[in-house]
């Protein structure tokens, strides 16, 4: 054991990270050896992004030690970490879209050499050699924004290799890739491993990369809950470890016979985002919208609530069309929208819980120009109780709550307006497992009460646990419609990525 940890490329011991009262990582031990591919699995909010941030020097651990190449670092910062060969490829790749492939690949290397001028011919030479090293052919002069997603990812990998990466960390590497693209990525990973480069996959859907991996670590609620050779894991056992649940949640009860159509979307088109989208939503129905990253599902969700102005098409609620591209019109028509990114789009973090709930109904709380603060407070308290939010004090800032409770506050804001249709974009992103199941319960309850719910998600168990129907989007179009109770998770995964 001592020998093994000695030649480890990265060795983290007892790493703990606390943000205020929240423990994001709790005494995690973690090792990666040269030439090894490791899977770091965990649901959103399990602590895996925190672990990447610590490893790349962006965040400092509260406790624990990190060694890279046998050197123990007490104060890792992004520069030290990069110099040691730890490179992170984030989900958005962090490329310069308006620059060429060669420039993108060579940029950081040339910066590191402290040359005054950027040398394009050297850049091209370097880029060419790295592309040959992984055996792919991409035009050196192509602008990165014109490349398909899979090629952008390869450019990002090449950039890391150009900077002499020894460990490449890939955040959610497969969420935007089709099955075929995943296979070619795996071939490249094998090549990198032969050269002694280690790869760390970080994801909540890792079944696809298991075959090239040696080791699997599973995090749940900041703790390491499973660790072992990749051969001992499969999709089912990974899910079980990540969620801590054996039994899948019960699917929703069927929509009441003959319930009427609430929302009617016809030929909705937004050039460059989605095209010709039509569907109907019944009262009491939960409709899932899924698809790979970049399939147009988020733009569509935003368009329903007026955050994105469609170029053509109509949306009718109870048979009545309302102004598109105007969130105020959508909200007053009876549509609610809980955004994907709770922290920047959803909540006013420094403001009180009560204010965050009441903000959608401030006009209704006014009596002769003045707010009825008593009524506002009791309504907020009432919602906190109904959604089982564990909040000691509705006057406390909303940022003092956990992810799951924050999400319930975001939900409460819209529920207090008694919406007819609720659009939930990633309803359980970044919440712990227990809260996730509770939020799914809330969604099923809402549907039973006659609200039409649209769930935008790429979390397959979540879609299966909440939705009556699932629309699959690809390149901006609805390509498939699946009845929620007719498929297994594997079949759904296959139909999403094919």
């Amino acid at each position: 054991m001592a020998a093994a940890t000695h030649d480890a490329l990265v060795d983290m011991k007892g790493v703990t990270k606390r943000y205020g009262g929240v423990t994001a990582l709790d005494g995690v031990d973690f090792t990666v050896h040269a030439g090894e591919a490791v899977c770091l699995a965990g649901e959103n909010g399990s602590g895996k992004s925190t672990l990447i941030k610590i490893l790349s020097g962006v965040e400092q651990p509260t406790a624990g030690t990190i060694s890279i190449n046998g050197t123990q670092h007490t104060n890792l910062n992004p520069r030290v970490s990069a110099a040691a060969g730890v490179m992170v490829i984030f989900q958005d790749f962090s490329l310069f879209p308006n620059m060429s492939v060669a420039e993108n690949i060579a940029f950081s290397t040339q910066l590191g050499e402290h040359r005054t001028l950027f040398d394009l011919s050297r850049a091209r030479k370097l880029a060419q050699s790295v592309l040959e090293r992984i055996g792919v052919d991409i035009a050196l002069d192509a602008r990165v924004e014109s490349l398909p997603v899979a090629h952008k990812q390869l450019v990002a990998i090449c950039r890391a290799l150009a900077s002499e990466a020894r460990l490449i960390i890939m955040d959610e590497p497969t969420t935007a890739l089709t099955e075929r693209e995943v296979r070619s990525l795996l071939a490249i990973i094998r090549k990198l491993k032969e050269e002694g480069v280690a790869v760390l996959f970080v994801s909540h859907k890792l079944a696809e990369v298991l075959e090239v991996s040696e080791k699997v670590f599973v995090l749940r609620n900041g703790k390491k809950v499973a660790e072992g050779p990749a051969a001992e894991f499969d999709a089912a056992s990974l899910t079980r470890h990540m969620t801590g649940r054996d039994v899948p949640e019960a699917p929703p009860s069927a929509v009441t016979e003959g319930s009427k159509t609430l929302l009617d979307v016809e030929n909705l088109t937004k050039v460059g985002a989605f095209a010709d989208v039509s569907f109907a939503l019944k009262a009491g129905e939960v409709l899932g919208v899924s698809g790979l990253l970049g399939s147009g599902r988020t733009s569509l969700a935003k368009a329903l609530f007026g955050l994105v102005a469609p170029d053509s098409g109509t949306i009718r609620l109870d048979g009545e069309a309302f102004a598109l591209g105007d969130p105020i019109a959508a909200a007053s028509a009876g549509i609610g929208y809980v955004p994907e990114d709770r922290l920047t789009e959803g909540l006013f973090l420094t403001q009180s819980i009560a204010r965050n709930i009441a903000v959608g109904r401030l006009d209704a709380h006014e009596r002769r120009g003045f707010l009825d603060l008593g009524a506002l407070m009791s309504e907020a308290t009432d919602w906190l109780t109904r959604l089982k939010v564990k909040a000691p004090d509705p006057q406390a800032p909303v940022r003092s709550l956990s992810g799951g409770n924050q999400q319930r506050v975001a939900l409460a804001r819209w529920l207090s307006r008694a919406p007819r249709v609720l659009v939930l974009n990633g309803p359980s992103v970044g919440v712990d497992v227990g809260s996730k199941a509770d939020i799914h319960d809330i969604i099923r309850d809402l549907a039973r009460s006659g609200i039409g719910v649209i769930v935008i998600s790429d979390d397959l168990p979540e879609l299966l646990a909440t939705c009556h129907r699932i629309l699959v989007m690809k390149a901006g179009r609805v390509v498939d419609e699946i009845a929620g109770n007719s498929v297994t998770e594997d079949e759904l995964a296959h139909r999403l990525a094919s």
């Binding site: 969130p327 003045f370 707010l371 000691p392």
Partner: protein, 339 residues
């Protein structure tokens, strides 16, 4: 929450620190120059002096709550005052009898408030509809307003008002200086607006997170326009007080008040990035600044040195508040207002 916890929460607010600062400045000035600083005459003259820039600081406060700023407050104040002054000199004049001149005073005040509202509307439209950064929009519009005032007056002071005009800036009501009463009413009004109305809460929350406000279906354009119109009207009231005290109006009065208004708002704990601010803090900051200003006056510090001190103080307060300077921040047990 334990009692000690509640107490530290109270003592760590910016308002508490300000109260301490105000007391310290008052005490220091009293010790340095006891007979003059504590004289009844000085205390009264302070009470007449500060309301005009304090009202401008209130105007600054409401825009800062939304993460904006209004650099046109002095321009709006002078333009409103010039319009009122022209009405008072053209139609009333010093020889008119009290009753008739009162009518004209009311008309002049209404005209000034209208000018303030229209100027604020322009600022609001630039910020909300055109999406200009408030700092640039109001810097530009402030020059435009001042330019109008210069054009109307040819750059010279407008004077020759009926006697009633002096009442607003120089008289007392039950022993209290009228400008102080005006300021107190406006401060109380703004406090109520910010804490007890949907408009005030929306403005605060927009300042805390503009994107979330958009996603919460708040009518942002309408909100911002109301904020800048309010600021414009507050500015025009300040302009009227200045006009009454000076018994004249001029396009370039009070040019040092802009920096002072920004300084007071920031010193008063208003977060220049938006989302936090309390009127009581601004009031305490006004007092501290007035004590300091009068004290420096008595110690015969030159006016130029005073500008330097205001500027340095503004930077110091910002550094302490943003907590970037660890050494300074630890002097105050302060938590950063935004995440």
């Amino acid at each position: 929450m334990s009692a000690t916890h509640a107490r530290t929460a109270m003592t760590s607010t910016p308002e508490f620190r300000l109260a301490v600062i105000a007391v310290i400045v008052f005490a220091v000035m009293s010790i340095l120059s006891p007979d003059r600083f504590l004289s009844a005459q000085n205390l009264t003259s302070m009470a007449f002096q500060f309301p005009e820039f304090a009202i401008l600081a209130l105007a600054m406060t409401i825009t800062m709550m939304t993460g904006g700023i209004d650099l046109s407050v002095v321009g709006v104040a002078n333009l409103s005052a010039v319009v009122a002054a022209i009405i008072l000199t053209q139609f009333a004049g010093p020889d008119m009898d009290v009753q008739q001149s009162l009518v004209w005073l009311v008309i002049a005040i209404a005209a000034a408030l209208t000018v303030g509202a229209v100027a604020g509307l322009l600022n609001g439209v630039l910020v909300a509809w055109f999406g200009l950064p408030p700092i640039l929009a109001t810097l530009g519009s402030g020059l435009v307003f001042t330019g109008f005032a210069v054009a109307m007056t040819g750059g010279s002071a407008v004077m020759g008002f009926p006697d009633v005009v002096a009442w607003l800036g120089n008289e007392r009501l039950v022993g209290i200086p009228v400008p102080l009463i005006v300021f107190a009413l406006l401060a109380l009004g703004l406090h109520i607006v910010l804490t007890r109305t949907g408009f005030g809460l929306k403005a605060t929350m927009y300042g805390a997170n503009p994107l979330a406000a958009f996603f919460a279906a708040i009518d942002i354009n309408r909100l911002l326009i109301r904020v800048y119109v309010t600021a414009g009207m507050f500015s025009s009231i300040a302009g009227l007080v200045i006009m009454s005290r000076a018994n004249s109006a001029k396009a370039d009065y009070g040019s040092s008040y802009l920096l002072l208004a920004v300084l007071i708002a920031v010193l008063g704990g208003v977060n220049p990035y938006g989302g936090y601010g309390r009127v009581i803090g601004v009031v305490l900051a006004v007092l501290s600044m007035q004590f300091l200003s009068s004290g420096l006056n008595m110690l015969q510090v030159s006016n130029f040195a005073r500008e330097l001190i205001w500027g340095a103080l503004l930077i110091f307060v910002m550094v302490v508040n943003t907590r970037q300077g660890p050494g300074l921040a630890s002097l105050f047990n302060k938590t950063k207002p935004t995440g």
